[in-house]
């Protein structure tokens, strides 16, 4: 997994609550075995009913064709567990999401892929969202995960907190399966114990 240390780039504001994974990564795309995640990314919202580009949609605006940062509302990523939602965001260039809150499974999927899920204090979130709209992609925003700060081009700083374990995993780009593999002997011991004490669980 690609470590996340500092990301500097354009911040696209999609200031809505409850943006779900059906919107981010709609199904119904052909070639599911080898999907084009960039094409899948908000595929329906990017088009009008007659198939033209939806001009008002944030990711259709030229300055937001490859934003590094997404700024959005509460419960981002609700709905299905599909990890393609994160892969679509990554295919669009996004490495960091600043939201009011994240849906549980989506947040886990972010951590699995080196995408930083950041939540600011409510007052800061309000100010930061307003600034992201004002800046409108004209200047870059810097996210420093080790320092847990977001810095705007004019020097304005917003602090955030990400739990240490999540931060470390992102900073070091740790492979989750690798972390668990260190516990194989405990898994084996657990299986032996269950097969004696709760045998109906160990055999279907």
């Amino acid at each position: 997994m690609q470590p996340f240390t500092v990301v500097e780039g354009v911040a696209a504001p999609l200031l809505e609550d409850d943006v779900n994974t059906d919107q981010i990564a709609p199904l119904g795309s052909s070639a599911w075995m080898n999907p084009d995640y960039a094409k899948m990314f908000f595929a329906r919202r990017r088009k009008t009913a007659n198939g033209a580009d939806e001009p008002g949609f944030v990711f259709n605006r030229p300055q937001f064709h490859a934003p590094e940062i997404l700024v959005t509302g509460s419960n981002f990523g609700c709905g299905s567990s599909r990890e393609a939602a994160v892969w679509c965001l990554q295919a669009a260039g996004i490495r960091c999401i600043v939201a009011r809150s994240f849906a549980d499974i989506f947040r886990e999927n972010c951590l699995q892929n080196g995408v930083a899920p950041i939540v600011l204090d409510p007052d800061d979130a309000h100010a930061f969202e307003a600034l992201a709209v004002t800046i409108d992609g004209r200047s870059k925003i810097r996210v420093d995960l080790a320092a847990q700060i977001i810095k705007l081009a004019d020097g304005t700083v917003f602090k955030f907190e990400l739990p240490l374990a999540d931060r470390t995993r992102l900073l070091e780009g740790l492979d989750d399966i690798g972390l668990t593999m260190k516990h194989l002997s405990e898994i084996t011991a657990y299986e032996e114990r269950v097969s004696l004490q709760h045998p109906w669980r160990s055999k279907p």
Binding site: E16, D17, D18, N20, D22, Q23, P26, L27, G28, S30, W32, M33, R44, A49, S74, N75, C78, G79, S80, S81, R82, E83, A84, V86, S101, A103, D104, I105, E108, N109, Q112, N113, A165, T168, R169, D176, I177, L179, T180, M181, H183, L184, E186, I187, Y190, E191, V194, H198, P199, W200, R201, S202, K203, P204
Partner: protein
């Protein structure tokens, strides 16, 4: 020590605590499906890792198979490569497939309880957010992403931060016209689609205990729509007798041994919850969603809400939902014209769901211009329904009697609505475009769906059955 039901199951499954503070929770049964597993097989093999417990892992083919009568794996051409990859990947890794022609075919969340694969107090994982369905039997289930799925294949554990605990107490007596779906929609109308975020929900109270097992599965199914990854109900005698004799359930002395342990699966009387909510289920009307979020719910006799009455920052979302749904504030839900009806999915496609819908449909015809589809949740539900003659009731009325699978719930198998069509659907998500680009989904229980099919409009089933409409 005083513990909640959730804590008891969690603690019994902690294998180790990882250096990053996550608990490694043992997964007793893991079911894959064809939309995500082929990608995980590919990643697992590229990393040179093996499936640790193929004997605890099963492959469902539920998301993409066509529901057209007489279908095969190629009927839905888009899904065919996934089904092929799923069969091959499962074979390479020694995993049993519940294939299209097998007796155990169906939606994994319907099949797993029905064959007795999931057991009270056991853990379960599926790379699908509706894994939480099986909490209805007192199992602890987790929907997961593709990397988590790969993680479970390699290690048979899932690395989780322990969620908080919420108890939703369902009081009162559910009347004859409300069902588990209505209870779940009512809860959603109270806590919204993110009220449960970060929690595991335990449903308790007299009304929860009074639900039949199929209803408990329906209720737990909608837990993810409340924002919670999982929810469950303490297993009791009705759960045990429901499970007894199912093909994969333990038998004889093993059953007795399991049973004595299962009887301890209750929250201790003074156990602490991080959040509690009580909902009175007496006088509960059939419920229906009006918007594009499962929390946007009104009673069938209700009217479309006015965004002006909502908090300012929520208004744009409500207005957007109204525009998408083609509704204006104050409109009555009853009487809105319906173009399509879908009865099916892991939410509402078990035998009692079909029986309740058939009781409404019997002796009536699908209204002109309405496309009505019923898709049993599993091959067993389909067989049992046919043995009761329900297929004839539906077909004679003008319904399509589909082959089992997720079908129109997720719109990945070719079944979907057209732009602007109003759909009454017994499923779980009314998101924009989910059941077809521009299609307008209202979530309801099976009886409201059936009533809409035969009248061509949103209809209070209570009035239909008493001859008022």
């Amino acid at each position: 020590m005083v513990l909640t039901l959730f804590d008891k199951i969690w603690e019994a499954h902690v294998v180790a605590r990882r250096a990053d503070g996550r608990d490694l929770i043992y997964v007793d049964r893991h079911i894959l499906h064809e939309l995500h597993a082929p990608h995980a097989f590919r990643k697992l093999e590229a990393a040179g890792r093996n499936v640790r417990r193929p004997d605890l892992t099963f492959s469902a083919l539920d998301h993409t198979p066509s529901s057209n009568p007489g279908r095969d794996e190629n009927t839905n051409r888009e899904g065919a490569p996934l089904i092929a990859a799923m069969r091959e990947g499962s074979k390479r890794n020694g995993i049993r497939v519940f294939d299209l022609s097998d007796a155990e075919h169906g939606i994994s969340h319907v099949v797993a309880p029905e064959i007795g694969m999931v057991l009270p107090g056991a853990t379960h994982a599926v790379p699908d957010s509706h894994a939480c369905t099986v909490g209805g039997l007192g199992a602890l289930a987790f929907g997961c992403g593709t990397t988590e799925l790969e993680h479970i294949l390699a290690t048979q554990v899932i690395a989780l931060k322990k969620p908080k605990r919420m108890r939703i107490r369902l009081d009162g007596r559910i009347g004859p016209h409300a069902r588990a779906k209505d209870v779940a929609l009512k809860i959603l109308s109270v806590i919204g689609s993110s009220g449960g975020r970060g929690y595991t929900i335990e449903y308790a109270g007299a009304a929860a205990r009074a639900l039949p097992i199929e209803g408990r599965l329906t209720l737990c199914n909608l837990t993810i729509e409340m924002g919670s990854r999982t929810g469950l109900i303490a297993p009791d005698d009705s759960a045990f007798s429901w499970l007894y004799g199912r093909p994969w359930a333990p038998t004889g002395a093993m059953w007795e041994r399991a049973l004595s342990e299962w009887k301890t699966l209750i929250s201790d009387s003074d156990a602490q919850f991080d959040a509690e909510l009580c909902i009175d289920c007496s006088d509960l009307e059939p419920q229906i969603t009006w918007g594009t979020d499962p929390g946007q719910v009104v009673a069938i006799s209700g009217r479309v809400p006015d965004p002006a009455n909502a908090e300012a920052d929520r208004r744009p979302l409500l207005e957007k939902a109204l525009r998408y749904m083609g509704l204006t504030p104050g409109m009555a839900m009853e009487g809105l014209p319906v173009h399509r009806v879908f009865i099916g999915s892991c939410t509402n496609a078990r035998l009692p769901d079909l029986q309740e819908a058939a009781a409404v449909v019997r002796g009536r015809k699908v209204a002109q211009g309405v496309h009505a589809l019923v898709v049993p949740g599993s091959a067993k539900v389909r067989r049992d329904a046919e043995a009761l003659g329900l297929d004839r009731v539906f077909r004679e009325a003008g319904f399509v009697w589909g082959e089992t699978g997720c079908s129109m719930c997720v719109g990945a198998n070719g079944d979907k609505g057209e732009r602007g069509e109003r759909i009454l659907s017994t499923t779980n998500r009314n998101f924009e475009n989910r059941q077809g680009a521009g299609a307008r989904t209202h979530l309801v229980g099976p009886t409201l769906a059936a009533a809409a099919a035969v009248t061509g409009k949103i209809t209070d089933v209570r009035k239909l059955m008493t001859g008022e409409v």
